[in-house]
Every structure is written in C-alpha cells, then in structure tokens.
C-alpha cells in the first residue's frame, strides 16, 4: 500500500546520485526487496513506472531482486532461509529464531549516463 512513498524515496536517492556524478540520465535501478519488507514487487514496479515520467529516470528499467527471509537460531547457531509460514529453526526446531535478512528494502545499484 505504501509503495508509492517508497518509490519517492528511491527518487531522492536517484537525484542525489545523479547530481553527485553529474549524470544526465538514469538508465537502470536495482532494488533489493526483502520478502518480509512489507512491499510488493508488482506494486513497486507500477509505482516506479508512473513516478518516473518526466524525470531523469524516464527511460530507466527497474530490476527487483527479492531477498529471502534468513533466520538465525541462537540455540543451535544454525542459519537457514525461511520456508513458508514458519518461524522455527530448521535445524533444532527452536522458536527463538532471529530474522537476519529479508526485512529491508535497499537501492542496491544505479546505472547512470554521464
């Protein structure tokens, strides 16, 4: 639901980096989207497509890399990618797992034309 405000933050980063590198156009953006970030890739793409019109990223393609949820178990020290709707350790069954990856959204890379 809040994908448009996330894309607005993407454009803040694009404008800052374009200025910094004296770029005339942004041609590609790579986002890393955690599977439990709360953002939906399809909606991010739709928001990006409408937001980019008339900006220096007008012709840019958006690449979304979904980052799976990775759990770490403090009881057995194991680390694994979360399968389906489960928050227990795949190794020892402990429920005290911590999420170490898969909750954030990052602008990973930008391709610029200078």
């Amino acid at each position: 639901m809040h994908e448009l405000s996330l894309i607005a933050s993407v454009f803040e980063v694009l404008e800052e980096k374009a200025r910094e590198h004296r770029a005339t156009r942004v041609t590609a953006v790579v986002l890393k989207v955690g599977a439990m970030s709360g953002a939906v890739p399809d909606l991010l793409e739709a928001a990006f497509a409408s937001y980019k019109k008339g900006t220096l990223a007008e012709g840019a393609r958006l690449e979304i890399v979904v980052v799976p949820v990775r759990l770490r178990c403090p009881d057995c020290g194991g680390e694994a990618v979360r399968e389906e709707a489960d928050f227990s350790c795949a190794g020892c069954g402990s429920r005290r797992v911590e999420i170490v990856e898969g909750r954030d959204i990052f602008v990973e890379k930008i391709e610029l034309e200078t």
Binding site: T24, S37, F106, E108, I110
Partner: protein
C-alpha cells in the same frame, strides 16, 4: 557520453529510522514512555485509550497522537477525557511515519508519563515504520477472527505485546483467544498477551500495571 554503474546500498527507510531514533532519544530524555498501537480499523484502539485514561486518572498523565486518513474525531474523543491529543490526518497515506510524529513532539507537555500513538487503522503498512516508540502493541478484536496473526505476520513480528480486545464479544463470535495468542506466539515468542474488554473493564488492571512497570524500567535505566 558514457554509462556507469554505481553501487549505492541505501536503505529506503533510513530517513524514517533516523527520525525515529531522534524521537526515541527525546522521549527517553524526558522520561516519557512512547507506545505505538497498531491494528485494523475498528478493533478498539481509541476505546482502549479512553478506558486507560480513566484508569490512569490521578496516577499517571498521558497524551495521545492520533493518526487517521481524515477527520479529528478520534482526537476529539480523547480530549473529552481531559487528555491532550493531536490529530495527524495523513490525507490518504496508510501509515504514520516518524517525521509526522517529529512535527508534533515539541508540543507534547514535558511532564507526562505516557505518549500513546494510535496508528492509522491498517494491519499491514504501519508495521514497517518505527515511530520512535518504546513499546509496540498490536490489537486484535474478537470479531476479526483468531486466524489473523498468521495472515499478517509482519505486524505481530514487530510488536512487543498483543492486546485481544472486545473480550465481552467472545461468547457471541467464533473467536478463541487461546488460538489467537498461540498463533501470535508462534511468530513472536515472548510477546506479552493481554485479553481486555474496554467496555466492561476486564483485563485493564493488568495492562495498566504492565505499562506502569515498563515506565519504571525506562526511567530507572535513565537514572
């Protein structure tokens, strides 16, 4: 003309996280416990705050920041209890962000004990936004069904406590408080679970006591 790829690695919620950290710092400095309430619309956040206002009267001072898409209604309800309240109308946005709280925080009286933030009614998006609170509660009301925690895991995962509201309706709707609690605890072990009826007063003493202890802990860490 040349093309180059640059590595950025910028967290899109970094600005929100920074604003939240500043609020947390400010609240702790003032000895105020910040509490963020998340739930679907209509699960009883405002009614719970009205009931807590009655419980706390003469013992603790509280203030409330209300988030809604439109209208001052919730803030007006809280003010009728004699509690200072600020209404943030997001104009369509589905959640509160830390900078919205930051704009109001300066007006919050310094001598209060609790600052409650009632988020926009939505069990999805508010989960992603830290508002600088010390405690986050998710409310789940009996008529919503006990199968919600597994369907909306982010909200429960991000919470410190679960408040099962409208307990007075449990005899009339298919809702098993034990099942709701078990589902939520499977997602977030250690979640504090409260069953309350703001209408009848059931469970409010325990919740009020939990909040009072959390306030004590926060202040003793500061001292």
């Amino acid at each position: 003309m040349s093309t180059k790829t640059i590595t950025v690695v910028r967290d899109l919620l970094a600005t929100n996280k920074e604003a939240a950290a500043a609020i947390r710092c400010e609240l702790r400095r003032r000895g105020i416990l910040g509490v963020n309430l998340l739930s679907s619309p209509g699960s009883g956040k405002t009614t719970l705050l009205e009931a807590l206002a009655d419980r706390f009267r003469g013992r603790f001072r509280m203030a409330v920041i209300e988030g809604d898409i439109e209208t001052e209604r919730d803030a007006e309800r809280i003010r009728r209890k004699g509690i200072p309240a600020w209404q943030i109308t997001t104009g369509g946005a589905c959640h509160l962000e830390a900078r919205m709280i930051g704009k109001v925080i300066g007006e919050v009286p310094a001598d209060i004990d609790f600052l409650f933030i009632e988020n926009v009614g939505n069990l999805v998006c508010p989960a992603s936004y830290d508002l600088g609170e010390d405690l986050r509660f998710v409310l789940l009301s009996a008529p919503e069904g006990d199968d919600k925690p597994a369907k909306y895991p982010q909200a429960f995962l991000s919470a410190d406590g679960l408040i099962l509201t409208k307990a007075d309706l449990v005899p009339y709707v298919p809702f098993d408080p034990a099942r709701a609690a078990a589902e939520a605890l499977a997602i977030k072990p250690g979640l504090q679970v409260f069953t309350v009826s703001a209408l009848r007063g059931e469970g409010l003493d325990r919740l009020a006591e939990f909040l009072a202890e959390a306030l004590d802990r926060q202040r003793s860490r500061r001292a």
